[in-house]
């Protein structure tokens, strides 16, 4: 076949790398990291203000910083990075050219302009309405406009991804079915379309309302549809970061999915059921029946949770199988003990897996239980939960794969390898601490999005127990840890991209270690030979923790005032 497009051949994986796709991946990843740095800084300011002994910012700046933090990291950093993943999982993994790079650039431009407009609107001070912008509290029109432009840009990116799948199929750049990672990315892109459509349905009328062209937006309808965007966008993250887990397991270990069928079905469950999650935010609102709440909050009998629990076994299981095939068969855990813990890609990925399951996953299901939500709604337990999913889960996974992307896509050697080595641990444990202590404070009733837990300015006094102050102080300390970890990441990556040693066209990067594709454990995993006792044990611990924590919270609930 002649050279249909401008590409180079990757010396590590042997894949053809479309240079147009490569440039887009770089641009999106760089934009993502810039907004991670900005949003992360706002996050640190928020945490330091919520640390009662520090109480850094005045009230107006606190709410401004919190709005910017939510928008920049929850939406901008993650979606930019997901665009990079979509182009990587389509053009690169499928050996194909990217469909319509011009459209992809248009999308990138819209996203960038949108993100900047909303950031400027927030910084001007008239739009401190929080990321959720619940009506009837009104932001300045540019606040909504920027988000809408950003979403349209992301939609174009999804279109380019779908187009690339079609092009690759038609031009027969691969044989058989698309790789599992691409399948996971496809899941993310399909959920993204639903998410963006929901966002448009609610944010366009809200923009018109802020311009004075629409007289009234119902707050409950707003919230229901807004969360069809807000929560579903977190499911894009889950689908994307689970794909990243599989990708890192494949790149670092040559791991093969235990069963393509099981893993793909688990992804499919995300598409089928995750959109129901808007209900998680409506459990204590007026106007919904319990039947509606129970069906929707449980994703139709926890079928999407089932998907995540399956990945929770198959990802470490595939790693264990690959390691055992290499001869690390001693005892239950030699495969894990002798895993490359000094490789930041693996360390970040494995911590992401563990923290997402144990912290973010379990707390999410418990909090999303119809009645238990009564003792958690809008307390700081909620941000505790989603820092476990989106930061310890998604962000940490995205950081981990960036360590592989820099040498493979940016063609630069990583600088400051020692810093890179420790970065995932600092950031991971920092975020795990943030999550756990916020959840602890939430259990004691501390509100989220609240400037002063001492209520010093209130006419009627109220005091939280001193344990709540301790929790918020610890939260501040771990936020500093996480911020240092975040800074290390930005320094290593930005530094490597600009100052790292350039790799020659055919030069294989040595760090982090990515074995050649030939080392893949390609014929392991049939039903007869499969032995993954270590993973089975870990999954058992997870299950026991889940069951205990679930019922402990029913116990807490049973102790509050009877309500009916």
């Amino acid at each position: 076949m002649g050279k249909l497009f401008d590409y180079r051949t990757c010396p590590t994986t042997g894949l053809r790398v479309d240079r147009a796709a490569e440039r887009l991946i770089k641009a999106n990843a760089v934009a993502a990291i810039v907004f991670l740095a900005i949003g992360g800084l706002f996050g640190l300011l928020v945490a330091l203000t919520r640390w009662p002994a520090v109480h850094l910012l005045p009230a107006d700046w606190f709410y401004l910083a919190l709005t910017a933090h939510g928008f920049d990291v929850l939406l901008v950093w993650i979606i930019f990075f997901e665009m990079a993943i979509l182009y990587f999982a389509s053009a690169i993994l499928l050996n194909s050219r990217l469909a319509g790079p011009k459209w992809a650039w248009a999308g990138f431009g819209l996203m960038l302009v949108g993100a900047l407009i909303t950031n400027v609107a927030v910084l001007q001070g008239g739009s401190s309405v929080m990321f959720t912008s619940y009506v009837p509290m009104m932001a300045e029109p540019p606040f909504y406009l920027g988000i809408i432009l950003f979403a349209v840009g992301a939609l174009l990116g999804c279109g380019v991804f779908f187009g690339t799948l079609v092009v690759a199929k038609r031009e027969k750049t691969y044989e058989g079915s698309i790789p599992l990672v691409t399948f996971g990315a496809l899941t993310a892109a399909i959920i993204a379309v639903f998410t963006i459509a929901s966002g448009a349905i609610i944010l366009i009328p809200t923009l018109l309302w802020s311009l004075g062209l629409v007289s009234h937006i119902d707050p409950i309808i707003y919230k229901t549809i807004w969360w069809a965007m807000g929560h579903s966008s977190q499911q894009i993250n889950v689908a994307a970061h689970v794909s990243v887990w599989y990708a890192i397991a494949a790149l670092v270990f040559g791991a093969k999915p235990l069963s393509e069928k099981v893993s793909r079905t688990a992804f499919l469950m995300y598409i089928l059921f995750l959109q129901l999650a808007s209900a998680h935010h409506m459990l204590v609102e007026p106007g919904f029946s319990s039947e509606w709440k129970i069906f929707n909050t449980s994703y139709a009998m926890y079928l999407a949770v089932l998907g995540s629990m399956i990945h929770g076994m198959t990802v470490p299981g595939s790693i264990e199988a690959a390691q055992r095939a290499r001869g690390l068969t001693k005892g239950m855990f030699e495969w894990l003990r002798k895993a490359p813990w000094d490789n930041p890609a693996f360390a970040g990925m494995f911590m992401s897996l563990v923290f997402f399951g144990f912290i973010g996953g379990i707390s999410g299901v418990v909090m999303g239980t119809e009645q238990i939500n009564l003792i958690m709604h809008n307390t700081i337990y909620v941000p505790g939960h989603f820092h476990g999913t989106v930061v310890a889960g998604t962000t940490l996974a995205f950081m981990a794969i960036t360590y592989i992307l820099v040498p493979l896509i940016f063609r630069r050697e990583l600088i400051l390898k020692k810093v890179a080595r420790w970065q995932p641990y600092l950031f991971g444990f920092g975020v795990a601490g943030i999550s756990i202590f916020m959840m602890g404070a939430g259990t004691l009733g501390v509100s989220r999005r609240h400037w002063d837990m001492t209520f010093a300015d209130a006419i009627l006094p109220f005091d939280y127990p001193s344990a709540a102050y301790l929790m918020m102080g610890l939260n501040g300390i771990f936020a500093i840890l996480a911020a240092i970890g975040g800074l290390m990441f930005v320094v290593v990556i930005v530094g490597s991209v600009f100052f790292g040693k350039k790799l020659a066209e055919d030069e294989k990067p040595l760090y982090p270690e990515v074995p050649p594709a030939a080392a893949a454990v390609s014929h392991y995993g049939s039903a007869e030979t499969l032995k993954i006792p270590g993973t089975a044990f870990l999954v058992g611990i997870f299950f026991v923790a889940f069951v205990l924590y679930y019922f402990v919270n029913w116990k807490y609930l049973s102790e509050v005032w009877p309500l009916s």
């Binding site: 599989y246 129970i294 239980t369 958690m376 999005r449 390609s522 029913w554 509050v560």
Partner: protein, 177 residues
């Protein structure tokens, strides 16, 4: 590998390993247990929302509250009327920038139909230290039957961001023997 097309072209015919199958069954069963637990609690548990709610104009809600305040105010505290409505009655709590109005005084082990609504933006009814949290919307009257089971002084905090005075929005409920 997960980054290459499946090595077996007919991957959907590959058998599933026993250990995976066991986990799928366990996880699915656990999902069912959690699902039915919510339904079970509606029968056996004491903490459920009735989901009784009405659309209401803020001024109408304020009028209901004012009638209650006029009739049952027993004293004043820091400028707030303290209202002691009869057991079993409809009691109204107004959420507005940045107050919970009025202070309620309830009797232990008696039921009340508590009406919550906002006059302006969204607010969050957060009863502490019991830790009961419900969202309060403008234009909606949400009715919850509460039965305080311990005497004492309770704080009503706002846990939905409602502007610059959000942190000053503290109310009070007394529960007396």
């Amino acid at each position: 590998m997960a980054i290459t097309p499946p090595s077996e072209r007919i991957w959907w015919r590959q058998p599933i390993a026993k250990i995976e199958l066991i986990w799928i069954i366990v996880a699915f069963t656990w999902g069912l247990i959690m699902f039915f637990m919510m339904i079970y609690w509606h029968g056996a548990g004491e903490q459920n929302l009735s989901n009784e709610a009405y659309q209401i104009k803020p001024q109408v809600f304020a009028q209901h509250a004012q009638e209650m305040i006029d009739e049952y105010t027993v004293r004043e505290e820091s400028g707030f009327p303290v209202v002691h409505p009869p057991a079993g009655s409809d009691v109204y709590l107004i959420a507005r920038l940045w107050q919970w109005w009025p202070i309620l005084e309830l009797e232990k082990d008696q039921s009340y139909r508590l009406h919550l609504s906002s006059m302006d933006w969204q607010h969050g009814f957060s009863l502490q230290p019991v830790n009961i949290n419900v969202q309060v919307h403008p234009g909606y009257d949400m009715v919850i039957t509460v039965k305080p089971d311990r005497a004492g002084e309770y704080g009503v905090l706002c846990n939905e961001f409602c502007g610059i005075g959000h942190h000053m929005m503290v109310g009070k409920i007394y529960v007396v023997e």
